[in-house]
């Protein structure tokens, strides 16, 4: 703590500033600067997805739908007067309804005109005035949607299920730490999933849980060895779930045997799910490496691995035009040849490109890729997937 309690120190400060008021203000300013460092990095990166011919982006105090052809805003949510929470979770669109959570633990169901269909508000028991028994939760993860429910991972430790039509809470499951990964829902008739419908939840508590989506009861769980903050990829051909961990490993979990079928060691932590094409997984790590790893019956087999960026590659890369296109915190998007990893092009994004890179079919024959940054002036940047040339950028300002 600040050692200003000492009288002699005050005398010295007083001598420097010549008046008690000035000295007090100076000390308080120093304390304020010092304490403002406590906040550290308060934010996060945007949640971005492409669905139903529009790009959905959640960042700051709103969700916006963007026209992929022009980068124009189609609608935003909530209304300017109702903006009282922070969004960063990936929005999910199913049957014309967008589901997204916010930093107050609320879940919003938004129709295709940008109006709230329902809003789930967590019930926090208050004692007196603002004094409550628990802190409001944050929703950092995306939302999984089944035929009749939506499943939400909460920032502190829970997974909740809500009625898809009304937002009424159904059940709650507690893990040992935060759930920052979008739950993975596999219906009973999903290709490769011969068993019952299952909800898979990766938690920061190191476990992957398989839950009954009807009741929230745990069927089984497996220790991944470290926190798994990012989303999972389901490989229906092999009935495997791919998940990256902070132990710098890509794991293939076999739900049939409830075991880890394959491991691949990386240089840095893994955050998000890989992209897959022709039995090859492409992904980046937080040390800036990009990997191409083939999945075989004998496990993972490295195709190539390259140091690409100076800073973390966090999101899932896009696969387009024979390229692996990945965004980095170093404000650059890199496009590498899928076959050998050669750099095809790179493009500046003005801000840290921490989201996944998403391919969008557009007027451009080769198509574009979009990436989200943490800069409001360039919240979404659209690049030609063939050349990296900038097509448009979207500003989050009003």
């Amino acid at each position: 703590m600040l050692p200003t309690g000492n009288e002699g120190v005050r005398l010295n400060i007083l001598h420097v500033f010549h008046s008690s008021r000035r000295a007090t203000i100076a000390v308080l300013l120093v304390a304020a600067v010092l304490l403002s460092a406590c906040g550290g990095l308060t934010g996060t990166w945007p949640g971005i997805t492409v669905s139903d011919g529009q790009i959905l982006i959640s960042y700051g105090q709103r969700i916006a739908a963007i026209d992929p052809a022009t980068g124009e805003r189609l609608w935003d949510y909530p209304n300017k007067d109702d903006r009282d929470a922070t969004f960063s979770a990936i929005p999910v669109e199913v049957d014309g309804v967008v589901y997204v959570g916010d930093y107050k633990g609320r879940v919003h169901a938004i129709d295709d005109a940008g109006q709230a269909k329902w809003v789930y508000e967590p019930d926090i028991e208050k004692l007196i005035g603002p004094i409550a028994l628990e802190a409001p939760d944050r929703i950092i993860a995306g939302i999984a949607v089944s035929e009749d429910r939506v499943f939400v991972g909460m920032g502190s430790r829970n997974v909740i299920a809500l009625d898809r039509e009304t937002g009424a809470p159904d059940w709650e499951f507690e893990t040992g730490h935060g759930v920052w990964s979008t739950p993975l829902y596999l219906s009973a008739n999903t290709d490769g999933n011969d068993g019952e419908a299952t909800l898979y939840v990766a938690s920061l508590d190191h476990n992957l849980y398989a839950l009954d989506p009807e009741t929230g009861n745990e069927r089984w769980s497996i220790d991944l060895g470290a926190a798994a903050p990012g989303d999972m990829l389901y490989d229906s051909d092999r009935n495997l779930i791919y998940v990256g961990t902070f132990l710098s490993e890509l794991l293939a979990v076999d739900p049939a045997t409830q075991s880890i079928a394959a491991r691949y060691a990386t240089e840095g932590w893994l955050w998000d799910k890989p992209a897959m094409a022709d039995d090859v997984l492409y992904f980046g790590d937080l040390k800036g490496f990009v990997y191409a790893v083939r999945i075989t019956d004998d496990g993972f087999q490295q195709k190539w691995k390259l140091p690409v960026a100076e800073q973390p590659i966090r999101g899932t890369p896009a696969l387009s035009n024979g390229l692996v296109i990945a965004g980095s915190e170093d404000k650059t998007v890199y496009a590498l040849n899928q076959s050998n990893g050669d750099l095809s092009w790179k493009a500046n994004t003005s801000g840290p490109a921490l989201t996944s890179v998403i391919p969008v079919e557009g007027d451009n024959e080769a198509g574009i890729v979009v990436v989200g940054t943490t800069e409001n002036d360039a919240l979404v940047v659209a690049l030609s997937s063939a050349s990296g040339e900038e097509d448009w950028r979207y500003s989050n300002e009003d």
Partner: protein, 320 residues
């Protein structure tokens, strides 16, 4: 810039968390104790320098009174006084400035390891010096009713931050006499009063705003600070309770240091059977006037005999 401090701090905090059974609160408390111990030499240096400053306060007051209409001369005279007593007015601020980056590093280490936000966790990824610690990140942030990554909803920790900080300040600072009608405003006392009120409130506001893990650190730091000062014999419980000390704490505030000198004078006149100067603290070596320096031209700025000389003289006289 702070990476050189933050990164090892993060590694130490994670290591402590690992060996202390995954108890994050215990890890923060032990970490705070270790940082306090590591910065103890700086604290001590700062205290010594501060004591020297207190010792010359009576002289300083006289100068201020004498040159109240001539700021230039006052500044000259003050510098002369500093030189004669070997006091550097910035000397106690320097350790303070050195401690700032350490404190910032400490705050950031706690926040980063608690992973309050995704960006914090992302930032942490390249800060670990020991890769084996990756599997304990992020720390288990639930403790009792608290999620240590977010503010305390019960507001209990912010209240404890305010109370312990206020208590620490009150215990460390001796009471200052209430100004009498006609007295000139004492700027140090004014600053002390402002600080004692504003600083705990300010930290309370931050405790409400930021992760409660940080509040745990604030409280631990305050309590450890109180214990540390108690061990150094600097706690003034009577002062805090508003009880006027029968024997003033020596050389702490300007008014009291004058009393100490008065006592020495009385001691010199006291009969041999009494032990008059026993309570007068031996001043630090650093405040001995530097006799080798050229004497001041201004006759007012004469170095006073230090307390230690007076005390010995008094004892010698008493023995005779």
């Amino acid at each position: 810039m702070f990476d050189i401090i933050i990164n090892p701090f993060i590694t130490i905090l994670l290591f402590l968390y690992k060996i202390l059974g995954g108890n994050v609160v215990l890890a923060i408390v032990v970490f705070t104790v270790l940082v306090r111990l590591a910065t103890y030499p700086l604290t001590l240096k700062q205290q010594r320098s501060a004591q020297a400053m207190q010792k010359i306060q009576p002289e300083m007051k006289k100068l201020q009174e004498k040159y109240k209409n001539d700021k230039e001369k006052l500044a000259e005279a003050q510098m002369q006084l500093y030189r004669e007593y070997g006091v550097n007015p910035l000397a106690s601020c320097l350790p303070l400035l050195i401690q700032f980056p350490i404190m910032i590093g400490l705050y950031r280490a706690i926040i980063a390891t608690l992973a309050a936000t995704p960006l914090e966790l992302l930032d942490l990824s390249n800060r670990l010096w020991v890769p084996d610690l990756s599997n304990i990140v992020p720390l288990q942030n639930h403790f009792m009713w608290l999620n240590l990554a977010v503010p305390d909803p019960l507001y209990l920790l912010p209240v404890l931050v305010v109370v312990t900080m206020w208590l620490q300040q009150k215990l460390i600072m001796p009471s200052t006499p209430a100004p009498q009608p006609g007295d000139k405003p004492d700027q140090t006392a004014a600053m002390t009063r402002q600080m004692t009120t504003i600083m705990p409130l300010m930290f309370g506001v931050f405790a409400i705003t930021y992760a409660s893990g940080l509040s745990v650190y604030f409280i631990a730091s305050n309590v450890i600070g109180i214990v540390q000062y108690a061990l150094m014999g600097k706690i003034d419980v009577k002062g805090m309770l508003g009880i006027k000390s029968a024997e003033p704490v020596p050389a702490v505030v300007e008014g009291q240091s004058i009393k100490a000198e008065d006592k020495v004078e009385k001691a010199e006149k006291a009969p041999a059977s009494k032990a008059p100067a026993k309570r007068i603290e031996r001043p630090a070596e650093s405040i001995k006037p530097k006799r080798t320096l050229t004497p001041a031209k201004d006759p007012v700025i004469k170095p006073k005999k230090s307390g230690i000389t007076d005390t010995r003289a008094a004892r010698a006289k008493a023995k005779k």
